[in-house]
Amino acid sequence: MSHDGTTSRPDIERPESVYFFGTCLVDLFYPEAGMAGMELLKAQGVRVVFPQGQSCCGQPAYNSGYREEALKVARAQLDYFPGDWPIVVPSGSCAGMMSKHWPDLFKGEPDEARARQVASRVWELTQFLVQVLKVKFEDQGPPVKITWHASCHAQREMGVTDEPKALLRQLANVELVELQREKECCGFGGTFAVRHPEISAAMVGDKVADIENTGAKAVVSGDCGCLMNISGALEGGKKPVRGVHIAQFLKERTHG
């Protein structure tokens, strides 16, 4: 469900294969989250293809005002997803860039139709697990209290709000305590964090305080930008709370 209560997207048939778009942040900083995402999909009997030619959705340059440069990088991705399979992305933000902003970015370009076609096949990972694969997890882990950080773009661009929490609630030994301000941005914002470091620090400071108030041992999120920011602040502030990507958390709890 998206924020305005409409169903986020029409259902599709369960596919035999999917593409996995790992994202550049996962590639460099959280490859274990990417592997976990692929293993979760494989465990559901889906063949996962990881095109080695992929790199980045182009969002960093796009949001910085460098659209030509973003277009060049986005265009380079198009070749690697030729099959008519869904493209699953372990990030609401990168998925949002591809499915919502690529159509604008490619507007008037000779490959606009192709870009739109690729964009229309993009799914955020938890959305795909819930809506298409209808996964049922069995919790294998010890009791733990966690909280959930909702990524802005997952919520507001991909319409993913309830799906990740529904997955976490399937885990019998996991107690999910919601944040007081779950919908509020953590202050990452891509280049915002370094362009306005003090404001970003204040934002993530509020987020950390909110997380601490829940008494959770871990904060789970579906976006590595948020995670890098929040985990970095937790670690920098020596807080005994672990930041973890939802794919990795689900994998750990269910052994794939």
Binding site: M38, P51, Q52, G65, V73, E184, A193, H196, E198, G232
Partner: protein, 474 residues
Amino acid sequence: MGETSINFAKASSAALQDQQLRGNFRRAMDGLMSKRAVQFADTAEWNGVRTLGASVRLRALSKLPELLEKLEANCTKNGIQVHWASTTDEANAIVLSIMQRVNAKLVVKGKSMVSEEMHLNAFLEKHGIESLESDLGEYIVQLDEAMPSHIIMPAIHMNTKQIAHLFKQKIKEAEYTEDVAQLTDLARRVLRKKFATADVGISGVNMAVAETGTLCLVENEGNGRMSTTVPPVHIAVMGLEKVVEKLEDVPPVISLLTRSATAQPITTYVNMISSPRKEGEKDGPNEIHLVILDNGRSGIYADEELRNTLRCIRCGACMNHCPVYTKVGGHAYQAPYPGPIGSILMPQVEGLEKRGELPHACTMCNACVEICPVKIPIVEIMGRLRSEAVHPGDAVRGAGSHASKAEAMVWKGWSMTYASPLAYQFATALLAKLGNAAPASLPLLKEWTNVRAKPRFANRTLHALAREKGIPDV
């Protein structure tokens, strides 16, 4: 207006140090957000009225020149004198000439953001005319010789204690009290006297109806009605985008406005002003003037995408929901319109040379877009302005003024690397090997590590892991 760049980063840094201020905003904005959510709890109703409101504004903008002419004709027919101003200087001069003709010495003002845009109070003061704000929040801010920090709640940056001290210090007859009712009563007593003796009343306009020549004004304190009916002359100032086509367009827009702004189904006063006092009537001003201000708006109108900025009905909800505004408060923006709408409007009105930093005062979280009652694609426009700021062009004044050769080189290098699988895999493999050796004192990394641990590159990239695990490539 000078072209020196306004330093948002510096001002916000100062604001962040002020714990009292941060607390005031956090509490106030949390309250406003939850109250608004109650007003729009029925999602289907919200979607319906929002779509209607957006379509009213879109329709008005789609025939703006025609509607403005119609508004002028119908106002004139009703006895309202219409004046056109392309700049704030022209608008101020028009107001002054009316004042001088009636020999005005004292003006009472209802709340008007356009008058803030004009810096009207300071201008009138320079010409020996006392201009008194009669909206309680505006009155407080004026006493404090400050700027409004929010377009709906101008004194929201202050708490009761601070206001109590201010009143004690600035109002002769005041005794120190933190009782809100007593403070309000004190301001009321001061203002009442002024209403009775004011020569001119000034107000803003929430909406002007083209087909009837009616000026709509919503307010809660009655000061708007007093300012527009007691003094013998009423001058209304409005931005040229505030016109709607028909009378039936008013209810959905007012409903969206008051529920979004103050979480009220309707304000205490809704003024529909259609003419000066007619023969035989016992109250109302003898003259009404409507000053319609352009100040860059027709330039915004010329661009189809940027035009959406002009849909705004000035409810201020984007501020209340903005995680950046909530942290730094309104003053950091140093603009009559702060927050998300200010960050897209000010650069277009005053040019990117001066305001080019504002579109970056945003994490692109889309919280504002989610609640905007007229569906302004604020974040899309933010992105467009970021692009305009670094690329010369003629759509926005000052386009290209923030271009930096170094930054352009970085993005060029980035795109060359990221668009080539070979270069990308080489670069990422290198970072996986050597990236963690980068010292935390490097630019960018330094800003990041002020409050955060250094991000750690993984030993092997996802590409490498996928290959090792035999995940198919095609």
